[in-house]
Amino acid sequence: MRMTTSDDALARAAADGDAEAFSALITRHYDRVFRLAFRLTGVRAEAEDLCQDICAALPAKLGAFRGEARFSTWLYRVVVNATHDRRRRHATHARAADGWGEVELARRAEASEAAAALDWLTEAMRGLPEELRDTVALVLDEVTHAEAAEVLGISEGTVSWRMSEAKKRLRAMKEAEHG
């Protein structure tokens, strides 16, 4: 029954202290949080850790959710901010700097026939500057440009520009590959 309740209603109930609503809410969104975390970092373990951070902090943060944005948008923003934060902290760490497509992915790719595709994905994501990478990760996650703009705190126009910029770069990469 709870599952049919809207996110926003659940979030409000949770903010008022309804534990059941909170559980329903977080269970419903966990997989999406994880997916975005993975797409932003490109490392599975990182994504798991990020989820843990977010889960730990979410109850306290929920008080800050004021229904000004959709809950999912707000939650995405939390994920993106958490990721940025982590990145900043890892700034000196070589592994994190490159993030996308390190050991984990390589290992996963090893036995896989998708190895080539993965390599390409890794290459492609790595080839993009950070802000383009984040934008791409969001938009590829079936987030509209408008919502991505809200999540990233930039204008919709900037999102569109970033996407076309990303496309340009991807095309250039492809051409370099084939040419």
Binding site: S23, R39, Q52, A56, D85, R89
Partner: protein
């Protein structure tokens, strides 16, 4: 056109793994636990002192992430694991009672040690503590470490101080963070584990973050009479320090030393000193008694009792409540307690008194037009509608409150702004100096300010003190309803009606009789010798019925308790005062009657009497000793908690409100904690 993106999307979809079911379950459980804990605490996180809920939201996002980041948690836990404190891991809590993400210890530590090692260049010797200490010191500190530290408040003050010059620039909290790291690496005594465990429990009872600031100064030094015969200070009727001490002890911890202002502990209690005869609104009662902690010295005990005008005679009162409604005020011991307190107080007001309410930091603005106290239901209704939270709107709370107050003021009436806050002083003037100036300017034009502190965790005691001192008001800290009763009901008249302003005390000791002296407490109230006669120098005020106690410990000439030896080349020979005199010293007091610009002088010699110390004197001395014990004073020698308790319980007297009995209980608590 979209080919590249489509390809990328397809690859991405293929590459995105499903979350690990075990981690998923674990993380969800963590979230639920933290949720339950937050609800149980009824305590919204207040991670920073950023003002206003919005500021907190925005900063909070970053801060909370820092606080709860796995790597940060691991950084702390690595240090802890390294010294075998692993037992306390599950009990580490962030200040708001939230579980720090429990790292899966085995895998987590290995990994984080790697990371840390790499970051800090520690790889070679990560198992060896001392080098790690240095490396940690230089390491960029993460906030999570800081918060892990909060689980170990036992080290708060001293260590922060000790590390004050550690080469890490930045926050005090950053230093504490190193403090934990260092301490746990170097001194992993079993006792520490116990303490950590105990205090992590205490933290649940009373979450306390590192944003508290206390005003204090180093203990007054022992003065040699021949060098510095004159001691000058301003009186102080605040009691906030006692409440802070109580709330710490009740939570099972010794208060931070800087939170202990001895004079406020002494002055917390009502004493029954002799009242004045006619001319002055109060008079000093001076007695000389033996020092309980030192046979070679004596105590000069000065008690001042303010007159209590009949309540019916008091002038009409205009009160403007300036109430902090920032999100953090919603805790049960803040806004709700405040509402209850004001309800109590309302019954003490007379029908013609007027009340107005202005809020700030949440929903800003005037909530209640000036309303006569007779219209009880209107006032109570407005009070009930107060809610914490909402965004920071206008920031002109203080100015607005004063504007309202000025509108209410009438001839012969007493007007006062009462600021109630948990530490958010974002009242509209951000520059502390400008704030003080504003308040003192308004004080000179006749509107006074009192400050009531609520809740612990973010309490900015230093600012509270500064504001109240500049506003001719009292700073009180309200932690329980009975404290609210004491401050707002039992002592309402005193707190709100000054009978004397700028009260300064100067004592000149007779070098023929006294060799050394020290003033107990009043460190933050010291004045320059020349300030005494300068009527433009502000000092403390005495309200109707207030009692003020000041105690000097003096070493008579020839006593074996004198600590400073004679000088070989100094002018040590004292020319005896003309004629043989029994006077130990000379007491002078200056005060201004309310509204007057010139001070009046009261003088009296201090002579050693033979009369036995009264109960009041003995109890106040016991309280001075209590404060000194809490501050770790070196002057007490071997005087113990047991001695203090014995002295206090023997002098409880009538104690109609039970304040003294409570103090004895607190001393017992402190005794058990101070081991």
């Amino acid at each position: 056109m979209a080919d590249e993106l489509d390809d990328l999307k397809a690859a991405m979809d293929a590459a995105t793994p499903a979350p690990d079911p075990a981690r998923r379950a674990e993380n969800l459980r963590l979230a639920e636990e933290n949720f339950a804990r937050l609800q149980g605490l009824g305590d919204a996180a207040r991670p920073t002192q950023q003002s206003g809920p919005m500021g907190r939201v925005l900063n909070g996002v970053a801060t909370m992430m820092n606080v709860l980041t796995t790597r940060g948690g691991l950084a702390a836990s690595t240090a802890i694991v390294a010294v075998g404190l692993i037992a306390i891991l599950p009990e580490l809590r962030a200040p708001n009672g939230v579980l720090i993400p429990k790292p899966s210890v085995i895998d987590g530590v290995a990994r984080s040690t790697d990371q840390l090692g790499e970051t800090l260049g520690l790889r070679e010797n990560r198992a060896e503590a001392p080098p790690a200490d240095d490396a940690f010191r230089g390491a960029p500190s993460t906030e999570a470490d800081t918060d892990a530290v909060m689980a170990e408040p036992a080290m708060e003050a001293e260590i922060a101080e000790e590390l004050a010059d550690a080469p890490v620039a930045g926050l005090q909290s950053a230093r504490r963070d190193q403090a934990l790291t260092r301490e746990s690496l170097i001194a992993p005594a079993p006792a520490e584990q116990k303490r950590a465990r105990m205090s992590s429990d205490a933290i649940i009872v009373q979450p306390e973050s590192d944003t508290e600031a206390f005003a204090n100064a180093p203990q007054s030094a022992l003065k040699v009479v021949t060098e510095e015969p004159v001691s000058t200070f301003s009186i102080d009727v605040d009691t906030a320090s006692y409440s802070v001490v109580r709330s710490s002890l009740m939570a099972g911890r010794l208060p931070p030393r800087d939170a202990v202002r001895v004079e406020e502990i002494v002055n917390y209690f009502p004493y029954d000193y002799a009242t004045s005869e006619a001319e002055h609104p109060f008079q000093p009662t001076i007695s000389v008694v033996p020092t309980p902690w030192n046979e070679g010295t004596e105590l000069v005990h000065i008690g001042i009792q303010g007159d209590m005008p009949a309540v019916e005679d008091r002038p009409p009162l205009n009160l403007v409540f300036l109430i902090d409604t920032s999100g953090s005020m919603q805790d049960a011991n803040k806004l709700p307690l405040l509402k209850q307190s004001f309800r109590l107080m309302l019954s003490e007001l007379r029908p013609e008194d007027e009340v107005s309410i202005v809020t700030y930091a949440g929903s800003a603005g005037q909530v209640l037009e000036p309303t006569r106290a007779a219209e009880r239901s209107t006032i109570l209704g407005a009070l009930d509608r107060l809610e914490a939270g909402g965004s920071t709107a206008g920031q002109t709370g203080l100015q607005q409150a004063y504007a309202v107050a000025e509108g209410m003021a009438g001839d012969g009436e007493v007007t006062r702004v009462i600021l109630a806050t948990d530490g958010d002083f974002n009242v509209g003037l951000s520059d502390p100096e400008a704030l003080k100036d504003f308040i003192s300017e308004k004080r000179d034009s006749g509107t006074y300010l009192s400050v009531l502190g609520f809740g612990r965790g973010n309490l900015d005691d230093a600012t509270m003190q500064a504001l109240a001192q500049n506003g001719n008001g009292q700073a009180a800290y309200i932690d329980t309803l009975s404290e609210a009763r004491k401050v707002l009901v039992d002592q309402l008249t005193g707190a709100l009606f000054p009978i004397a302003n700028d009260v300064k005390i100067q004592v000149e000791f007779n070098p023929g009789r006294i060799a050394e002296y020290r003033l107990i407490g009043y460190e933050t109230r010291a004045l320059n010798r020349e300030d005494f006669n300068n009527d433009r120098v502000d000092a403390g005020d005495i309200g109707a019925g207030h009692r003020v106690t000041a105690i000097y410990e003096v070493a008579p000439v020839g006593s074996d308790a004198i600590r400073n030896g004679p000088l070989r080349y100094g002018v040590d020979q004292v020319a005896p005062v003309a004629g043989e005199t029994d006077e130990l010293g000379f007491f002078k007091l200056r005060y201004k009657r309310p509204g007057e610009g010139t001070s009046t002088l009261i003088e009296t010699p201090i002579v050693s009497g033979s009369s036995a110390a009264s109960e009041d004197v003995r109890f106040s001395v016991a309280m001075a000793g209590f404060g000194e014990l809490l501050r770790g004073s070196a002057f007490l020698q071997n005087w113990s908690w047991a001695d203090a308790i014995q002295l206090a319980s023997g002098a409880r007297g009538e104690d109609p409100y039970g304040y003294r009995a409570e103090a004895v209980t607190l001393m017992r608590l402190a005794e058990t904690l101070d081991r």
